[in-house]
Symmetry: C2
């Protein structure tokens, strides 16, 4: 246990729960890392699609970002309302289940589960991808590095929510701080230069325009830019993790995250236009990220450049942590409704829903291994889940307002309805645009997961129906059980079994299996060395003398030398012959001191126990009488 | 079971034992394959060492072979006597144990066990090596082919001794037949040509002599040639496998094997001298085996050449089978003396000592994998075991005669004494010559194995002393056990457990674990939703009304949410408080229909059973009350 304590921290009592709650300062790194890190790739994703438009494309980025920010603000207000309406955690799953019915809830649950696993996988692989493009020597170890980071994240998260926040605080605030400085300095220079600042390091010239603007292109750019919105869900799902008053703390945290994200997105797009920075071809030889070009143009390539690049790498690879904070809460919520194994409800030694963490780590590892840790192959599967969940959540909130009514009814419905339509459209665009590249995998996995969840629910319902007992304990038919005990030879072990059988019942059957061939047994029987004789001397006679019940000896011949199955057959036969009695099978078992000593013994006791459990029925009970070597 | 039947044959009854016994015709392939196949490499091994002597070396092969044959005849007579003296199997282990004491017996046992595993590994790798040198495309699959042949041998042998004999009969007799024809035709041609026959295909010219003959060289050549004697032990160890009268059948089989081996060895050496065939450098580019050159010289390269080469390849790779016939008998004999796990005594469904086969297959696979299936790396480990066993067996027989005396006392002692000295010297020569190349591994493994066997013996002796019960069953202190039953909530499962507990005893403790935090429980308790209330309504009241014993409810708080360990702690505490009573812990368990449904349930019942078994003691008994889902 000492190693466990060292790695994961000492166990926490249930009453220590409050201490594990977080405030806004650590809430931003824990629940905001995913959303904030997307500032590093959202604008770039949009600008990449605008490359064919040349210099004009760089100008379009500002209105498109404005549209995305408008959507983000709508989603922000919606989630503020959700947090208030669902103080025990109002993730998309809860909102959709309660307002749109179980099917919509499960659709949302499946979409979110897949999306969180992808968040973890994409975050890790993107971080490693960035690291590897900086240090090409590490290229062959991509998958190994991904799994290493996954292992580190697992250990850190197994220590608990609060300790995870501490680890991620520094990189997150470094990331936010350096980018805000970049934006501040850049904007100041641009304003002082009347809108046309001189770059320190001139960015590459933009290519000439190749196509004209179309609606389809605009939609694609918009939907690509919307990837900056993934991760906004996290706070509303994790309300219970916040310090009391938790709704207020959660909303403050959400506000901080969204405000920062808006500042970053708006600042980056404005700087791009001011400095004429567009995306470069990601598959080209001279590829450079938008943020790298912006940094060069505004600040030059000094220590600040490298510090910022390093914080981007770190935050990207740590953004996977949002999945760790949220996935276990989601699976717990689903398991509370019987759609996932109940083990997801159990809190582990550090008050976490540990099995959710195990599941996330396992699934993420599988994804990373299948896709060899390459981000490009994972990306097409991503975002559909998040936007499906957004859409269902917003639609659910519309129904919520229609049900609850209240003072600002119309404006609430309008905001959420607008959000639902916008995110729904985005979902469709993402699905169509990425279908062949891999979105079909997600589109297949979601119904499969829903099917499995229905099966789980059905199983729990069956069990509940079969084991439910509303009335009191029945008191009829309490009679001694019929005891059956296998015996191979007379020893202190069998003596103990006989004595224990006598404590339980006056009706005892001792079963001895005789594997000898006819000739062997004939010969031995003539010499008087039969087990019947031993039984008479060692058991029957003394018990009779003491006035105790005398067990009956049953000798079964086993021509094929099987031991376990004749005993089980006999038990089942006796069970049929005594239809109203409990049958107790007494299994003596030798317990050795060290595991390796098991190699020196047969495992008939274990085999018999297992076989009886599998072949047995309600009326057969197994009594394990252990014998310990001193 | 249908697949098992198809692969390994139907189970055999103990009374069918006689039918599995073999006569000389199938005895030769089963027990002689190893010895006979060595005719294909023994002379070659000797001739290879004689290469430096040039043409003179080829002339020395005849007297050296004569010396080996003399030794072989001595060993033959010794083993005939051993078979008569030990009709239940007189392998080196038995002879050494009975005549030289347990230590010599174990030395012999360890040496033989290692040697049999090496026989299997070397036989398979030599066969695959020959196949691969004929079809070089298969080279990269050497290890895979080795493991494939091992798998085939395992399946064939798991069907039983007799069926294995049938499979190996044809290749063995083809091998003997073709070689005898080669020798017959060659000798006739040589005699007709006055000792100097003209070869059909002229063998490569012999190199000029490089060194002179020395005693050390002679000893090395002799010991290399002696590898032809490995496998002679097999018949004497397997006497019980022969048809009645088994001693006579075994001796006939041994005579056939030794006579054939003498014919082959003598014929090959005489033909080598007559045709001037010497060995070629095995590492050279023009390497050709001695038998291949002899075949070419005597018969030319027609269909007969290819048929003989094919039968040699087949017999080499199948010679591993001798280990399968003998290893399980050896381990059984050792296990009968408590030096190996008793499982080696148990006969499986086909009347074999199946676990001996499993062990052999496992160890051979490990050896093949470690040495990548390359014969050259395995050879230095080999033969030391066989010759150690020979020496101990012969020495044991000397002591046997000195003890038994009898009519031909002096000649018996002389023959066995001569054999012991000769094989003992050979053992030393082999050990010294091959020590650095790998014999040190065998020299290390033998004492390790002996140490392990002593530990096993000690364990069995301890158990026997602790569990032995010579007197009759004690009849005092037969009182109802104290029953402890964990209960989580009121259900039909817990009702069944309560009812069963009532059948066993009037003193019952129901233990409920409360994992709630202080606030939670305070709140719920105020609302009256406590487990105490449920227990009062559902259990206490009706049982009291029916005049039955009322179980006591014990609620244990578990601030760290552990379930199993507080129950175990409570059981151990109760056990201490009731020093003269049996404690029966009643563990209800849900049994699902399909294994995958186990994913949907906690495994506390299993954990509790295991933990109680590990932490428990003689007075704690576990009662498993299963609940089956309908």
């Amino acid at each position: 246990m000492a190693i466990l304590d060292l790695l994961f921290g000492r166990p926490l009592a249930t009453s220590e729960e409050g201490a594990e709650h977080v405030g806004p300062t650590s809430g931003v790194p824990i629940f905001g890392l995913d959303a904030l890190s997307s500032a590093a790739y959202g604008p770039e994703a949009a600008l990449t699609l605008l490359i064919p438009l040349g210099l004009a494309g760089v100008h379009y980025i500002v209105p498109i970002t404005a549209a995305i920010l408008a959507l983000l603000i709508i989603v922000y207000f919606s989630y503020r309302q959700t947090i208030d309406a669902y103080p025990n955690g109002g993730g998309s799953y809860t909102v959709a289940s309660e307002n749109l019915g179980a099917h919509a809830g499960l659709l949302s649950a499946a979409a979110l589960m897949i999306d969180y696993v992808l968040t973890a996988a994409v975050g890790i692989s993107a971080g490693v991808g960035a690291l590897v493009s900086a240090l090409p020597n590490l290229q062959p170890h991509t998958l190994g590095l991904c799994l290493l980071i996954l292992a580190i994240l697992s250990v850190v998260n197994m220590r608990g929510v609060r300790e995870a926040g501490v680890v991620f605080t520094l990189p997150t605030y470094l990331f936010i701080g350096t980018l805000l400085i970049l934006i501040g300095v850049g904007m100041t220079k641009a304003i002082l230069a009347g809108g046309h600042p001189t770059p320190v390091v001139t960015p590459p010239a933009l290519p000439p325009a190749a196509t004209a603007l179309s609606l389809w292109l605009l939609l694609k750019v918009f939907s690509s830019g919307c990837t900056a919105m993934t991760g906004v869900e996290a706070v509303s799902n994790g309300v219970t993790a916040f310090r009391a008053p938790n709704c207020k703390t959660a909303k403050t945290t959400l506000t901080l995250i969204i405000a920062t994200l808006i500042l970053l997105l708006a600042g980056i797009s404005l700087l791009c236009r001011a400095y004429g920075v567009g995306a470069t071809d990601p598959n080209g030889a001279n590829y450079q990220s938008v943020l790298s070009m912006l940094l060069g143009a505004v600040m030059g390539r000094g220590w600040f450049y490298y510090l910022t690049i390093a914080s981007i790498l770190l935050v990207l690879s740590l953004s996977a942590n949002t999945a760790f904070a949220d996935f276990p809460r989601l699976t717990r919520a689903i398991a509370m409704n019987d759609y996932l194994p109940h083990v997801f409800i159990v809190r582990g030694r550090r008050l976490l829903y540990s099995h959710g963490v195990y599941a996330l780590v396992g699934l993420t590892a599988v994804l990373l291994i299948i896709f060899r840790g390459v981000t490009d192959r994972l990306i097409p599967l991503y975002a559909i889940g998040a936007f499906t969940a957004f859409t269902l959540s917003q639609a659910g909130m519309v129904m919520h307002w229609r049900r609850v009514k209240g003072p600002h009814y119309a404006s609430h419905v309008f905001i959420n309805g607008l959000g639902a339509v916008a995110t729904g459209m985005t979902t469709l665009v993402v699905l169509v645009a990425k279908f062949i590249d891999g979105a079909w995998i997600t589109a297949l996995l979601i119904p499969l997961l829903i099917f499995l969840m229905f099966q789980v629910k059905r199983h729990y319902e069956t069990i509940s129906a079969e084991t439910e007992k509303l009335d009191a304990c029945a008191t009829d038919d309490i009679a001694e059980p019929l005891v059956i005990m296998p015996i191979d030879r007379w020893s202190r072990i069998s003596e103990k079994a006989v004595r224990f059988a006598l404590m339980l019942s006056r009706e005892i059957c001792a079963v001895h299996i005789d594997t000898r061939s006819d000739e062997e047994s004939k010969e031995e029987d003539e010499q008087g060395g039969t087990f019947h004789g031993v039984w008479r001397d060692k058991v029957e006679r003394p018990l009779k003398a003491a006035g105790l019940a005398v067990p009956e000896l049953v000798v079964l011949r086993s021509p094929f030398r099987f031991i376990v199955s004749p005993i089980v057959d006999y038990v089942l036969e006796m069970e049929k012959k005594n239809p109203h009695r409990q049958i107790a099978v007494l299994v003596p078992e030798l317990v050795v001191k060290h595991w390796y000593q098991n190699l020196l013994h047969n495992h008939r006791a274990q085999a018999l126990k297992l076989y009886l459990l599998v072949k047995g029925n309600q009326r057969i009970v197994v009594i394990n009488v252990p014998w310990y070597l001193g």
